[in-house]
């Protein structure tokens, strides 16, 4: 019966789904795709890959074995072929066999898995330690070996690519869409890098597939992981936050640039500077060329905000050695008093990087979860309360304390921006020195 009427029906459905498949492959296919893990670039990632494939093939073998028996039975032992049913209903010896054999297969899987796990969890004898902190919704990196390098890394994909609600204002989605940041974590190849992972607000997870590492970043905990990228595998590796952390969970990617040990030492010696694309600014022409292709591709898609920060971008691209200054304003620039306009102008990009995820680019917030800046009692009330809010945050809510994330000038700029833009026009401003006094 299954293969008379039913078979015809199944055949029809198969034809329909096959044509659907064809349509998808020809018409809708936009990008290439992967079926399996990303290519591993660390020893542990290779071990995991091999383990994964080993278990996979064992599972395939079990699946094929069990179901070839079942389908043989379905074809042969059917009423429509007048097959006479047997009446047997138990066999202790068979039951024992199919309890013991799977158990032995499991032991065979557990042995290599245990070996890899022990290796993964051994974080001793590292060459470099980096503290990684998850924030809603960005990552902070702090190099722990006396180099004093620390920075935040936020999504650099322009908003116009993400918001496709209105096709007329949207721009085309780029190759590294949602996998690009304003600053990459810089690590050396051939050295054991230990990461201390924590979070500031809610749980995040730091994940680079090609390294075979994933660990939750939990507030109040310091987790550890390590990786040692193969020499010769220098390049850019991309990953994601893997633990649901609120609204912009999908918008806090991780980018790691792996450079050679020599280049890394130079980068550290140079104070850990970044070029306009968020990669290591190292004082040799040779290393920059490696990324020149990526840079020129991405430059054409850079957002207006990014362009205003690096006005001579294209020119500087041509001379890889003279990359632009790092975007981070230094506290020393705050000596002189600044006008409302200057502060607001600086504040706009800081607002975009640190505030707009919740309070929205327009300052309207999201009713019920993230309050509006426009017309808010804080942003239009006494300025000292405003400063305190930015520095200390609001416990129990998503409003983070920015005292350690922004320097005095940045705090002054973003406060001035919030009070004089986004529909507010209080008309006052605050200087970096005032912030320093209030810390």
């Amino acid at each position: 019966m299954l293969f008379s009427q039913q078979g015809k029906l199944a055949a029809k459905l198969f034809t329909v789904s096959a044509s659907l498949v064809a349509a998808l492959f020809s018409g809708l296919a936009q990008a290439d795709y992967r079926l399996n893990f990303q290519d591993p670039v660390t020893g542990v990632a290779r071990d995991i890959y091999d383990l994964h494939m080993l278990i996979f093939w064992i599972c395939v073998a079990i699946f094929v074995g069990v179901f070839s028996v079942m389908f043989y039975s379905i074809f042969k032992h059917r009423k429509s072929k007048n097959y006479e049913p047997s009446t047997f209903s138990h066999s202790t010896s068979v039951e024992i066999i199919w309890t013991i054999i799977p158990f032995l297969i499991l032991v065979g899987m557990a042995v290599p898995a245990t070996k890899v796990l022990i290796k993964m969890e051994d974080t001793t004898k590292s060459d470099l330690t980096v503290k990684i902190t998850g924030y809603q919704w960005k990552w902070g990196y702090e190099y722990m070996d006396g180099s004093d390098i620390s920075f935040y890394s936020t999504l650099s994909t322009p908003r116009t690519q993400i918001d496709q609600f209105n096709r007329s204002t949207a721009t085309e989605i780029g190759e590294n869409y949602l996998l690009e940041t304003d600053k990459a974590m810089i690590v050396p190849s051939g050295r054991k890098v230990r990461a201390l992972i924590t979070a500031n607000d809610v749980i995040h997870a730091w994940w680079i597939p090609a390294f075979g590492t994933k660990k939750d970043a939990i507030p109040g905990y310091i987790n550890e992981l390590w990786f040692n990228v193969d020499e010769g595998a220098e390049g850019v590796y991309r990953g994601n936050c893997a633990e649901l952390c609120g609204k912009d969970h999908a918008y806090m990617p991780i980018v790691v640039q792996v450079v050679t040990g020599v280049e890394f030492d130079k980068w550290v010696a140079g104070g850990g500077q970044f070029d306009a694309q968020g990669f290591a600014k190292i004082d040799t022409a040779s290393t920059q060329e490696q990324f020149a292709g990526v840079i020129s591709e991405e430059a054409s898609e850079a957002s207006p905000v990014e362009k205003s920060e690096t006005p001579n971008q294209e020119l500087e691209m041509a001379f890889a050695e003279s990359v632009v200054e790092a975007v981070v304003p230094t506290a020393s620039a705050a000596d002189a008093a600044m006008s409302i306009e200057d502060l607001s102008q600086k504040g706009e990009s800081i607002y975009g990087a640190h505030c707009a995820a919740c309070h929205q680019v327009t300052g309207a917030g999201l009713p019920g979860i993230f309050p509006a800046i426009t017309g808010s009692s804080v942003a239009t009330g006494p300025i000292n309360a405003h400063v305190k809010m930015i520095l200390n945050g609001k416990p129990g809510t998503a409003m983070a304390a920015f005292r350690n994330q922004l320097n005095d000038e940045e705090v002054a700029a973003v406060i001035t921006y919030q009070r004089n833009a986004l529909g507010n026009s209080v008309g006052d401003s605050v200087q970096a020195a005032d912030i320093a006094a209030q810390r």
Binding site: A31, L35, Q38, L178, Y221, I369
Partner: protein
């Protein structure tokens, strides 16, 4: 369903008149009516939860945000899961238990009929509260169905509403479980020893113990969350010295037995269907019972495999890896028993059998990806990706939900007195099975290639398989309208069903007429 209007005809051994309308349904103490209410509720929640899933799949059809913002997306994933787990799957199985357990053990009704009424009628109110949370400031809960702290501590008023709703669902489940245990242990027909009980009764008995053991744990966890949010405690809030990982341990101590709560009754259902259509007794009855008990026991000591990445000590990771791998032994025994039941039978392939074969085949696929997930080093890579999403939909949809669909076709003639349309039933099966695989099989690839779950947006490299998945999801969702049509038309009419319905099936439920009279087994049958 109005089957009992016809059932009324058979109802001649009681003096009081048959209640109607509000009195019949809202004040019912009859296990069949309450079972019907549960099943209708479950089907309604399946559709609602499915609608949420389609919103998710529409947004994920292309990279970029086309229809909804990420916050609403998170609300959709959260409420989809809560509705499916607590609204569709659990009440669905309670519906089957209500209808079938008394019929299978030869009891006149459930042991505690008024509590039975209460445990059902809590549910519509609980889910109204959950759904109303969409309309409070900030919208519905958006922290994932696991409600992990400290993200839930940040959430709006909807989290409190979800907590209240979960408490109500928990009370309902616990009362349902008490009813099952009391009925099964006290009201079996003379001669029906424990080891003669049908497997659906066995799996539900064990499920009921799981429910009683873990629902209070979940209630405790969400209550601690509530006091963290409003009463200044800091169980889980690191800002006050609390421990976010503690929440996960408590949650998954509930959460892992919960997944067996959702699958063991499904094992029971297909253990009835396969022997009937293979025309051969179930192979290895006692090993099936022991395997079920073993799975239930192991389910209490594997919870931390849901949280390998939180940074447990190596010894902990090894323990939970080994314990998790062990579960595949009793689960494997079950699969081998089903296949051996088919072996040298005389099979026919009516809709319930198609669904059961589908369950054995697809659940096993999900079980094998579960074995892959148990391998801790590899799990670090699979964890929180679409590989996990694919895995648990293979065990939950093609395990639990498809088993319920098979069970519906199997017992619908007994419930309504009419045969369903076999041709439409088969079409429904093939549409469901194919659309399901188009939806979820590509998600394995997405996960392996590195697409995290609970993402509203993704890199274009994942576009291809997301499109497959979205197209499959819409086909899967709309195919279920056929299911509803088949049920309604079977309730309304159709070929009269005999008492046995199928070809010599085993079990006391086939000794009563179809449709089963309003009151059955007033005098207990005797089991040899």
């Amino acid at each position: 369903m109005s089957h009992a209007a016809t059932a009324h005809d058979h109802h001649d051994d009681h003096d009081h008149p048959m209640p109607t309308g509000f009195k019949r349904w809202a004040m019912s103490t009859n296990h069949k009516d309450i079972g019907t209410l549960y099943l209708i509720f479950s089907l309604a929640m399946l559709m609602l939860g499915g609608a949420f899933a389609l919103v998710i799949r529409a947004e994920l059809f292309q990279p970029g945000l086309q229809y909804i913002d990420p916050h609403f997306f998170n609300q959709m994933t959260t409420v989809h899961a809560l509705v499916m787990v607590f609204g569709a799957v659990m009440p669905g199985f309670v519906g089957f238990a209500n209808w079938m357990l008394p019929l299978m053990v030869g009891a006149p009704d459930m042991a505690l009929p008024r509590m039975n009424n209460w445990s059902f009628w809590i549910l519509p109110f609980a889910f109204s509260i959950l759904i109303l949370s969409f309309f409070v400031p900030g919208g519905a809960p958006a922290s994932g169905w696991t409600l992990y702290a400290p993200l839930t501590i940040q959430g709006g008023m909807s989290v409190d509403m979800a907590i209240v709703a979960i408490h109500m669902m928990g009370i309902s489940s616990i009362m349902g479980a008490i009813n099952v245990i009391v009925t099964v242990l006290n009201m079996r027909a003379p001669g029906m020893t424990l080891m003669k009980m049908p497997l659906f009764v066995w799996t539900w008995l064990i499920t009921a113990f799981l429910l009683i053991a873990v629902m209070p744990v979940f209630a405790g966890a969400v209550t601690m969350l509530l006091t963290d949010r409003h009463f200044g405690t800091a169980f889980f809030n690191p800002a006050g010295g609390g421990d976010p990982v503690l929440y996960q341990h408590i949650f998954w101590f509930f959460g892992h037995p919960e997944v067996y709560i959702m699958i063991l009754p499904a094992f029971g259902i297909i253990s009835h269907i396969i022997p009937t259509f293979a025309r051969k007794p179930l192979f290895g009855y006692s090993s099936m019972v022991f395997a079920t008990a073993a799975i239930a026991f192991l389910s209490f000591i594997v919870w931390a495999h849901h949280m390998f990445t939180v940074g447990m000590p190596l010894q902990g990771e090894l323990f939970f890896m080994y314990a998790t791998m062990l579960i595949s032994v009793p689960t494997g025994v079950k699969v081998f028993n089903w296949v051996t039941t088919m072996w040298r039978g005389s099979m026919s392939f009516e809709t319930p059998m198609l669904f059961s074969i589908g369950v054995v085949f697809l659940f096993t696929l999900g079980g094998l990806s579960g074995l892959m997930l148990a391998i801790t080093p590899a799990d670090f890579q699979y964890h929180d990706t679409y590989f996990v999403v694919a895995h648990f939909h293979y065990v939950l949809f093609s395990g639990a939900v498809m088993a319920m669909m098979g069970g519906t076709y199997y017992w619908l003639p007994k419930w309504t007195g009419h045969m369903y349309n076999e041709r439409l039933g088969k079409i429904h099966f093939w549409l469901t099975a194919i659309a399901f695989n188009v939806t979820f099989f590509p998600q394995h690839f997405l996960g392996l290639a590195g697409m995290p779950r609970r993402y509203a947006d993704y890199n274009p490299i994942f576009t291809e398989f997301n499109q497959w998945s979205s197209i499959g999801a819409f086909c899967l969702g709309f195919s279920q309208l056929l299911f509803i049509y088949i049920i309604i038309s079977t309730v309304r009419g159709g070929k009269k069903a005999t008492a046995e319905v199928w070809d010599n099936p085993e079990g006391l439920e086939w000794t009563v007429p179809s449709p089963a009279p309003f009151h059955t087994f007033d005098t207990p049958p005797t089991v040899k």
